[in-house]
Structures are given as structure tokens and as C-alpha cells.
Symmetry: C2
Subunit: 397 residues, 2 copies
């Protein structure tokens, strides 16, 4: 049998999805699994999105513009304007999910062998896309003890080398739930200004900030042409399967580069752009209600977690994830054990092992990421399972 | 302003789409443009596809499985079975368009610096994806004089070096319309067997063969685990905007690699997989009727083209493209001139310059690709425009 490429062998499996075979086996045994491992919300996709798709007058399901339909991009500029972000339609590339925006940004800013600084823990697929793009992640470690706040300036500066080209943040953060303050963003602004770096800012969870208002990287005036905003409708509107995202930048050569990548893959999905355009007409109350729902879950989750002996979970301020430290030796073994060998009242829980969110070997071994994407009752059952599991798990940390 | 990556600067612009700004200007002047530059069919998407999407009972537009919905993959195996191709659901990765299948295949089989042999002219975006993947295309030139038949074995063998890992074909061919005979495929089979190469076979236009039946690379028994089939519903069902394709292989490590790439980008669009599954229930007559329509256009197009003094167009046997040699010095200049400086009865025509389909510098300078994606009457008007244009074009070749 011919060998596949080395880069494929080195490609990391998604830590969020690699336990799926064990979950499938547990489900076959009739065990009810509470899926807290993946950011797939249980909140309904707003009807106007689906209705717009259903009612679209379409005879030929044709390619859209490679950069996305102009009318959708025009409408997007108004959405951003309301947030205090001024962009033009030609500064937007509609992407196939936020995933593609991440990938285009890495390809556009970095060459193979170049480095990107990322506060860790970070969204695990940054590792996959970096591997695909042949770029190196230089992690800058944040600490669970202080709620995963931005590491100090010196930690970033020390990590910068001659091949460092960019900083990548996720704000609000997946997996930590940290929301970067204006002050923290200004630190990043200084770093990017002083060291000639792009700032890639993944703001998929912008609307889900529970304590403070969100401040976008595109509002950092002194580096306005160094910022690349990565966006998606997936979480905002509970529309993960739509695969509609965006890459936004004032840097025209960068947009021209992203457009070439976009042209190679022809177009983002056509129908979902119609749905995404309809989403922009949703009343502001939609986010008020959704935010309230997630906030309630957040409070419940974090309270219950911290009541479990040996568990520590700082209060996340945004997104719908929490990182928790568990009293186990190896959280990945534990998560697999939860699916393979445990059930409580016919139920178990699926979590994402923390190590997959770190680039530094050995980090996060006792941590798990928990997505609070289930309604409160199911969430309580899930955390009860976790509590019972920790009582009997043999390999304590 | 910070510099973008070198690879972005080197990324080729799509030759099919780079004339778009000139077309936009012509359209603004009120000129009617016959778009023969892009493979966007005018044939209606079959109603059952759109109806299935419209009627799907969906409350949450959730991620699908990263490899695509299992029920769709199961149904696909029956489609392939009818074509004499035996595959299992776990040998299929549903991709976001055929584009992503091409990209995943290159990433899975080749490392940066590795080489892929491709008969030229070839689908222009192979160049873009190769650039993104950091792999080198070694073109093996086919000739318009013999209808772009497969170059002989020696031409391939001479191009093979220590870093050659794969051959990539498009069958039926875009842009030439050539359909590889069983004999030609057996030559490729020998080459791949003797030189340890993967055979990537893009069969997007499988159903559009007008003279002979199609023979799939996956039917080459002696290299069954070296073949990677690249597929898409875009052309087959006039559903380019659906962005549903597939990568298929019996090579399990390769499928495992493709799945890791698929997991990084989470999932292909959810709704369109429902439409694509519905498409598989279309009666066989659908393709009979569609093929008949394209065949009529093909005959008309090629007859009219060869009636124009100095124009030569071999009869394509499949897909819906023809490559024609024009009596001009530089077809790209001519195509731009058609949009910028010419109109006949308020109309002009947009063509894809041939050079963009070649990797060898200087090749295809007098050629254009013509997509016969317009109904016969519009096609006749378009070719009349072309004829009139060639009568007055100053820069004859």
C-alpha cells in the first residue's frame, strides 16, 4: 500500500471529535450521552433564517460570487457598523464557515515555517489549520488560576522570533470563555505595532458576553490594517451547519490574496447566504434572550462544578464554554472511561479533554472543556453524572 | 503596510474569473454578455433537490458528521454500484464541493515539494490548489491536433522524478472535453503500478459522455487502493451552489487522513446533503434528457466554430467544454478586448483564455475554453458575436 503524505500522518486528530467512536459504542449499548464536548447549541435556529432559505425563488442553484453575494456583504457592513466596526463590502470575503476564514487568514499572512503566537489553551482546530498551512504555533500559556486572562506583554515578546508574523486570538475565547478587556487588547495592539505582526481575531462568539461589552480587534485604530477579523454565523444564530463565515480586513492586498483562495474553491454555499442575510434582520431581542439562556446555564454549570470536591472552574465571561480542572491523572483517559466504562442511571457525559487545546506538551492534562449547549435540566443531569463518575473513577490525580 | 505571505503573492488568479471586472464594466455600459467562460449551467436544478431542502424538517441547522451524513453516504454507495464501482460508506468523505475533494487529495497524497503529473491543458484551479498545498505540477502536454488524447506513456515516464507521487486526471476532461478510453486508463494504470503513484481521478462530468460510455478510474482493479476518486454534484445536477462533493478511496489510511482534514473544517453544508440525497432518486431519464440537451449544443457549437475562418475546434466527447484555437496573437488580450472594446448588436461574449489551463509557459496562448452552458439560441448569438469580433480584431495571430 502506498504511503500517504508525512503531513497527513502529523495532522492532529480533532480532540473534540476523536472520542466519537467510544460515544457511538456507548450509544449502541443504550446509554444516554449528554454531549458537552462540542459547541453544537441546542437552541433553535431562528425561523426567519430557515424560512428565507425555504422561500428563496431559485431555479438554478448556481455559484455565488467567490467573495459572497454582494447584497449579503452590503448588509453585513450595517451589522458591523452597529457594533462600531466600519467596513466596506469589498473588505469582506464570505467564507465557508469560520473554519475557512481561519485557514485563509493563515495562508494569507504566513508562509510555511512562519510562526503565529496564540494564547493557550486555544480552539483545537487552530492546530489542524496551522499544520495544513505548514505554520508553527508558538503558544503563550494562560493560567486557569486567573481565569485565563491574557498573558503579560513580556510573555508574548519573549516568544517572538524572526519568523513570527501574527498573533491569533479568539475573543470571547473558546475554550476558556475569557473575554479580552479593552486593556488586554491594547497590549496586543502594542505588540503588533512594535513587532510588525498581524492580529487575527476570531470573534465567533461576539454576542455572548455576559458581564462586559465586547470590544473588537477591528476597533484598534493604530493597527487597523493589521487586523484580520474571522467571523461566522454558526454560534451567533445556532446555524453551525450553514457553513457561512467571513474574513474581514482593511488590508487590501490581504483581501486580494484571500479572494484568490476563495476563487480556487469557487464559492461559499449559495442558499445559506440567503439565510444569513435574513438573520441580519432579527430584532436585537433575539440576542438578549439567547444571552440570558446561556447565562443561566453558565451560572448553574459553574456553581455545580465548583461544588464537586477537587474540581475548579473559573467563571467564564463569554462564549458558551468553561474549562474545568478535574481531580484525575489524565483527563483524556477519564473522558474515554466515561464513555467506555461508566454510566449513572443509564446516562453518561461526553467532555473534550483539555490537552488538545494546548500546544505545550503536558499542559491541560487535568482539564476538560465543557460546552454548555444543553438546556439547564439536561446540564444538571450531566454534571450529576460527572460528580458520580469522579466518586468512583479509579485513576485520581 | 505589512507584507502578506509569499505564497499568496505567487497564488495564481483564476483565469476563469480574472476577467470578471471587465465584464462588470461592460454590463454597466448596457452590453449583454454571453457568459461562456464559466461552467455554470443554465439547466434548472431538478425540483426534487430543492424541494427536499425546502421540506426538510429541521429545527436546528446543526453540523453534520465531518465525513458527511451516513444516510447520504449509504445512498451514494448504491449510485456508484450502478456504475460498476463498489465502495463502502466508510470509504467516502463528503466534501464541500469537488474543490475540497481536490484539495484534501493533494494534501493526503503529497508533501510540500512533491510533484503531481497532470495532462495539460487542465482545470485551472488544480494550479491554485497545488500552490496552496505547496506541491509542484509536472504538466504532460496533450495536443489540440489529436483532440487532446492522453499523451503517450513515455511522455509520462519521462516526467517522473523521485518526488513524483501522483497523477491527476479529469475524466471527462475539463477543459478539453476529452473522455479517456479504457485503453488510455490502462496506460495510466500501468504507470501508477510501475512507478508507485496515486491516481487522482476527477470525474465531475461522468454523466456527460456523448459518444462512448464512461470508464471510472476506480474500475482499474490492479491499482484499486491507489485511486482517489474526486466527485461533485455541481455539474451532474446543475447544483454548483450546493457545494457538495466527495472524496472516495479504498486506501484506508488515506481516508483516515482526509477525515482529519474534514474534522478540522467541521462539516460540509447540512441542508445540501439532504438535497444531494434526494438527487439520487432522480430517474435515469434525467440524465438522458440533460445529455441530449448538451449534445445538441455541442454539435452546434463545434460546427459554428469550425465555420469561422482560422478557428479550429476538435469535437469534445464529454463534459460541456470545448477548447478552440483562434486566429489571434494572444487569446487573453482578445478576451479582454471582447469585453472592453467590442460589441455586436449590443452583445458580446466572455470566454476563458487558454493559457490559464496550461502550466507550461507560452502554451495555449491562441486557445480559449468555451463552456456550452447556454441554450442553443443564445449559443448561436454568442458564436456570431465571436465571428464578428474576429473579423475586426486588430491583433491577429
Amino acid at each position: 500500500m502506498l504511503s500517504i503524505s508525512q503531513r497527513s500522518l502529523q495532522m492532529p486528530a480533532s480532540p473534540i471529535r476523536k472520542l466519537v467512536p467510544f460515544a457511538e459504542k456507548a450509544a449502541q449499548k443504550g446509554i444516554h450521552i449528554h454531549y458537552l464536548n462540542i459547541g453544537q447549541p441546542d437552541i433553535r435556529t431562528p425561523a426567519p433564517i430557515l424560512d428565507a432559505i425555504r422561500q428563496a425563488k431559485i431555479d438554478i442553484l448556481a455559484y455565488s460570487h467567490s467573495a459572497g453575494n454582494l447584497d449579503y456583504r452590503e448588509k453585513l457592513t450595517k451589522y458591523y457598523h452597529k457594533l462600531g466596526i466600519e467596513v466596506e463590502p469589498h473588505e469582506i470575503i464570505v467564507t465557508t464557515g469560520g473554519s475557512e476564514a481561519i485557514w485563509f487568514a493563515l495562508m494569507a499572512c504566513l508562509d510555511p515555517g512562519d510562526e503565529v503566537l496564540i494564547p493557550e489553551p486555544f480552539y483545537a482546530n487552530y492546530l489542524g489549520f496551522s499544520q495544513m498551512a505548514g505554520v508553527q504555533i508558538k503558544p503563550v500559556t494562560s493560567a486557569i488560576e486567573n481565569g485565563f486572562a491574557l498573558p503579560n506583554k513580556q510573555a508574548f515578546v519573549q516568544a517572538i522570533g524572526p519568523r513570527t508574523k501574527a498573533v491569533l486570538i479568539c475573543n470571547p475565547n473558546n475554550p476558556t470563555g475569557h473575554v479580552y478587556s479593552r486593556k488586554e487588547l491594547q497590549v496586543l495592539e502594542e505588540i503588533c505595532l512594535e513587532h510588525q505582526l498581524f492580529l487575527l481575531s476570531d470573534e465567533a462568539y461576539r454576542e455572548f458576553c455576559y458581564e462586559d461589552t465586547h470590544y473588537s480587534a477591528l476597533q484598534l485604530e493604530s493597527i487597523r490594517d493589521r487586523v484580520v477579523l474571522l467571523d461566522t454565523i454558526s454560534k451567533r444564530y445556532s446555524a453551525c451547519g450553514a457553513r457561512i463565515g467571513a474574513l474581514i480586513s482593511h488590508h487590501q492586498p490581504l483581501i486580494a490574496a484571500a479572494l484568490k483562495y476563495a476563487q480556487a474553491r469557487l464559492s461559499p454555499p449559495t442558499l445559506e447566504q440567503i439565510g444569513a442575510a435574513a438573520a441580519l434582520d432579527l430584532p436585537a431581542e433575539y440576542f438578549v434572550a439567547t444571552r440570558k439562556e446561556y447565562d443561566r446555564r453558565r451560572q448553574t454549570l459553574v456553581r455545580l462544578l465548583n461544588e464537586i470536591p477537587g474540581v475548579f472552574c473559573p467563571m467564564p465571561k463569554g462564549a458558551f464554554y468553561a474549562m474545568a480542572k478535574l481531580p484525575v491523572k489524565d483527563a483524556e483517559d477519564f473522558c474515554q472511561w466515561l464513555l467506555e466504562s461508566f454510566s449513572y442511571k443509564g446516562q453518561t457525559v461526553m467532555l473534550a479533554p483539555g490537552a488538545g487545546f494546548y500546544a505545550t506538551p503536558g499542559k491541560g492534562k487535568q482539564e476538560v472543556r465543557i460546552a454548555y449547549v444543553l438546556e439547564e435540566k439536561a446540564l444538571i443531569s450531566a454534571i450529576t453524572c460527572l460528580k458520580k463518575a469522579l466518586e468512583v473513577y479509579p485513576d485520581k490525580g
